[in-house]
Amino acid sequence: MELKLKQINDDVFELDVRGNTCPFPQIFTELALKRIESGRLEVITDNPPSARDLPIVLKRRGYQVELEKEGDHWRIKIWK
């Protein structure tokens, strides 16, 4: 199985994990963060518990995080 990490520009990346239940949005986000040296990762999820938990978990790990609701899903912005 492969994840598609989209590089929008030099330092902005996007990872769409819609359709995945807990804990996979978190696990896939961690994989993508390992791949990115620096910049901003934007994770798209439609799983409400991930929108609840991911920002908390990531902040605990020291990342700056913003959560935005976009229609029926969320965009979680993470700075690395």
Partner: protein, 500 residues
């Protein structure tokens, strides 16, 4: 360059985690980087954590126990998981799963790996999604004495179906979850009527097979609480697998995806009617099933003890509300090894059945060192949902209420009724089919809001009969006063009154 790496998440190594740098491809303005998830891929579609929102638990883990059959070794492995990751707590669910709470998502992969090693998976908890999507086939409820008291061993079909649906990408995005129940003991010990598909094992003209019931679900979703209806056909045992598969596919392809509230199979069955459903199934399977008249299944349970076909015995230990602990799981494993074949069966009433027992009295004597053994209908058959964890109730939660009402009944010498309690209208505690049912609702009390309950009576899942409301929004002393009245009414055979 492709590099083989070992990914370590929380101390667990996942091999062959490849990050292929050369896979950067230009797509218009943006580029795509492929990340191979390696070994983690084996968990996707087979494992998930559910959402908790109470008791300071954020996630639960609902481990599917295929056909409810589990051996001592696996019991101990689950006890270990409970001890290490779930504060030593465990529950038997009414779909014969084992549920742990307080699961930290950081430990998820480690837990999944351990379950994978023993061949277990979990429910895919897609109910958090707001749309009609990501529904899966839930643990298939199976007669706990399959293969022990009659030759009709429905657990073979149950396990085959579980194996087929688990992680199968074709069936992971149903409009909503799909619940199947199978029984072959001659009665209904699995609540056929409240499943999307209930398969009632019968012998018809000397042949083993099933009389299916379709479209049951007592949750609040459209069109409301519904008891499954007989399809009026006979499915020979050899065709049952294809039949069930066809019904699940019909749900997948035809149930509404318009909204979650309309997406349960019962809504489609209600819209189509039995005749159309039958036609669609027959079109799909290419079979023409024999039409049969089928009356409501006979009530059945496997509580207490009894003799197996091979001369050994079974014994069902009452576990009120299904609440266990790591220590109790270990103890059950020890007892299963000492007194039987090492296997136990979890029951749809959240109890534990020991099988292949040579001496029931000795087993009970041993069990009583750890369990309070009161073999009453009250303790065997009563249910309280996990509302304390799901966060839909305040105190008293469904399981607290159950404990209190059971003690209330016992203090009055009443032990021959069953109480089903749900924290909310999602009806996980099956209150709609309870002899006495309670369902939570918030009620205004003074300046604040209290946890109240509606009281229902006269339901029966074996007779496929819905309970009626006695009084709504009760709490405190009022609740117990009204409960006492309902108790009297139910015990005096007032089910007939409920039928009026």
């Amino acid at each position: 360059m492709v590099s083989d790496r070992v990914l370590i998440i929380n101390g667990v190594k996942f091999k062959n985690h490849n990050i292929s740098d050369h896979s950067i491809a230009t797509r218009g303005e943006s580029m795509e980087i492929s990340i191979d998830v390696g070994e983690i891929g084996k968990f996707v579609g087979k494992y998930s954590l559910g959402r908790d929102n109470g008791e300071n638990s954020l996630h639960f883990l609902r481990i599917k126990i295929p056909a409810g059959q589990i051996d001592s070794e696996r019991l101990r492995k689950i006890a270990e998981l409970s001890r290490k990751y779930g504060k030593g707590y465990a529950e038997v669910t009414d779909r014969q799963s084992i549920q742990l709470h307080w699961i930290d998502s950081d430990n998820a992969l480690e837990i999944f790996e351990r379950l994978y090693e023993i061949g277990y998976t979990t429910d895919m908890c897609g109910q958090a999604f707001s749309g009609a999507c990501m529904g899966d086939v839930r643990n298939i409820v199976t007669c706990p004495l399959s293969g022990k008291i009659s030759e009709f061993d429905v657990s073979e079909l149950s396990k085959r179906l579980t194996e087929f649906f688990t992680g199968n990408p074709e069936y992971l995005d149903l409009p909503r979850k799909f619940k199947i129940a199978l029984t072959g003991c001659g009665g209904d010990c699995v609540r056929l009527g409240i499943n999307d598909l209930g398969m009632y094992g019968i012998i018809h003209n000397g042949e083993r097979g099933y009389a299916p019931f379709a479209g049951g679900s007592i949750g609040a979703s459209f069109p409301g609480p519904t008891i499954a209806k007989p399809l009026g056909i006979f499915i020979p045992e050899s065709q049952a697998f294809e039949f069930v598969k066809a019904v699940v596919e019909i749900h997948r392809d035809f149930s509404s995806r318009e909204s979650k509230a309309k997406a349960r199979f019962k809504n489609l069955v209600n819209k189509w009617g039995i005749e159309r459903l039958r036609e669609e199934i027959e079109r799909k399977t290419g079979m023409e099933y024999e039409r049969i008249e089928i009356s409501n299944p006979k009530p059945s349970d496997h509580n207490g003890h009894g003799i197996q076909a091979d001369g050994l015995y079974y014994y069902t230990l009452p576990v009120l509300g299904g609440v266990l602990s790591a220590e109790k799981l270990d103890f059950i494993a020890d007892m299963a090894e000492k007194h039987g074949s090492g296997e136990v069966r979890l029951t749809p009433e959240q109890n534990v059945t020991f099988v292949d027992v040579s001496d029931v009295d000795v087993l009970k004597r041993d069990l009583s060192r750890v369990f309070e053994i009161r073999e009453s209908k009250l303790r065997y058959s009563s249910i309280g949902c996990a509302s304390n964890f799901c966060g839909k109730t305040k105190e008293p939660h469904a399981k607290d209420m159950l404990q209190k009402l059971v003690e209330f009944c016992e203090s009055r010498g009443v032990e021959d009724v069953s109480i089903f309690i749900s924290g909310c209208r999602n009806a996980c505690g099956c209150h709609h089919v309870g002899e006495i049912g309670l369902v939570g609702r918030a009620v205004r009390a003074g300046n604040g809001v209290s946890q109240g309950y509606d009281l229902l009576y006269g339901g029966s899942f074996t007779e496929l009969k819905l309970a009626k409301i006695w009084k709504e929004g009760l709490y405190g002393d009022d609740l117990f006063r009204e409960f006492e009245k309902v108790l009297e009414v139910v015990r005096n055979g007032a089910k007939t009154e409920a039928d009026k």
